[in-house]
Amino acid sequence: MIKVQTEDFDVGVELKALMARAQGVGGIVTFTGVVREWSGNQQLAAMTLEHYPGMTERQLADIEAEAVRRWPIEASLIIHRYGRLEPGANIVLVITASAHRQAAFEANEFLVDWLKTKAPFWKLEAGPAGQSWVEAKATDDQAADRWKVTSGPAKRRA
C-alpha cells in the first residue's frame, strides 16, 4: 500500500493496520525518516518537499511491486509526505512484514534506497542563510545500485 500525503502519520497506528491485513508474519521492519535539525552546519527552520503528483504514486507503486516480487513479503506500506515540514517531523515511513526477518530487513532497505533515487521528490531547505535545494548524493545512487540484479533475491551477503 502506498500513500502520498501532507498529513503526519503515526507509526504505531500504521503498524497495527498493516498487521491486521497480514498473515504468517514473524518479523516486521519499519523505517521512519525524519527532518534533521542540522544540515551541514546550518540549523534548519523548515524544509519544503515538492513532488510530481501522478508520477510519485506511479513510482512508489512500481517500487513496492518490485520488492514484493523479489522478497517473500506478506505486507508492506510506503508513506511519503510532501509540503512544509519542520525539524523532527516525519517525512517517510516504510514497513515490510515477512515470515523471515532477513527478507523484511532487505526489502525495507531496498525500498528506502530506491525512494531516495527514484521517487520524484525535491527538498528545499530553509535556514538562516536563506533557502536552498538539497543536492542529490552520490552515496544514495551507490546504495540503490547494490540492489541491481536481474532476477532473484539480492545476494549482497555472499
Binding site: 518537499l49 506511479r58 531516495k116 533515487t117 520524484p120 521528490f121 525535491w122 535545494w133 543536492e135 544514495d140
Partner: protein, 87 residues
C-alpha cells in the same frame, strides 16, 4: 511542427524556467528527449539558464523516466527536474 506537448518543471528547474508548466509546439525535427532539451535551451532566457548543465537534468515522459533517445510527440507530458532528493 509535431503538435502540442505539455511541459512540466520541478524544483530549481521550475524556478529557473520561471513557470511550473506550459504547452509548447516544438518544430517537426524535435522527436526525441535530447532534441527537445536542445531546442528548449536554444529558446534562451530562463530555459538556457535551467538547461545549461544537462547532466543535472532528469526527464520523464508520461511520468516514466526517459533517456535522451526516448521519443516525444504530440500530447505527451514531458517533465524536467533535477536529481531527486526524497526519502
Amino acid at each position: 511542427m509535431i503538435g502540442a506537448m505539455k511541459l512540466v518543471y520541478f524544483a530549481w528547474l521550475r524556478e529557473r524556467v520561471g513557470k511550473a508548466g506550459e504547452t509548447l509546439s516544438p518544430p517537426a525535427n524535435v522527436t526525441t528527449v535530447g532534441a527537445l532539451l536542445e531546442w528548449l535551451k536554444g529558446q534562451g532566457g530562463g530555459y538556457a539558464e535551467a538547461l545549461k548543465d544537462l547532466s543535472a537534468v532528469r526527464v520523464a515522459v508520461n511520468q516514466e523516466y526517459a533517456g535522451p533517445e526516448a521519443k516525444v510527440g504530440a500530447n505527451d507530458e514531458v517533465a524536467l527536474f533535477p536529481p531527486v532528493t526524497g526519502g
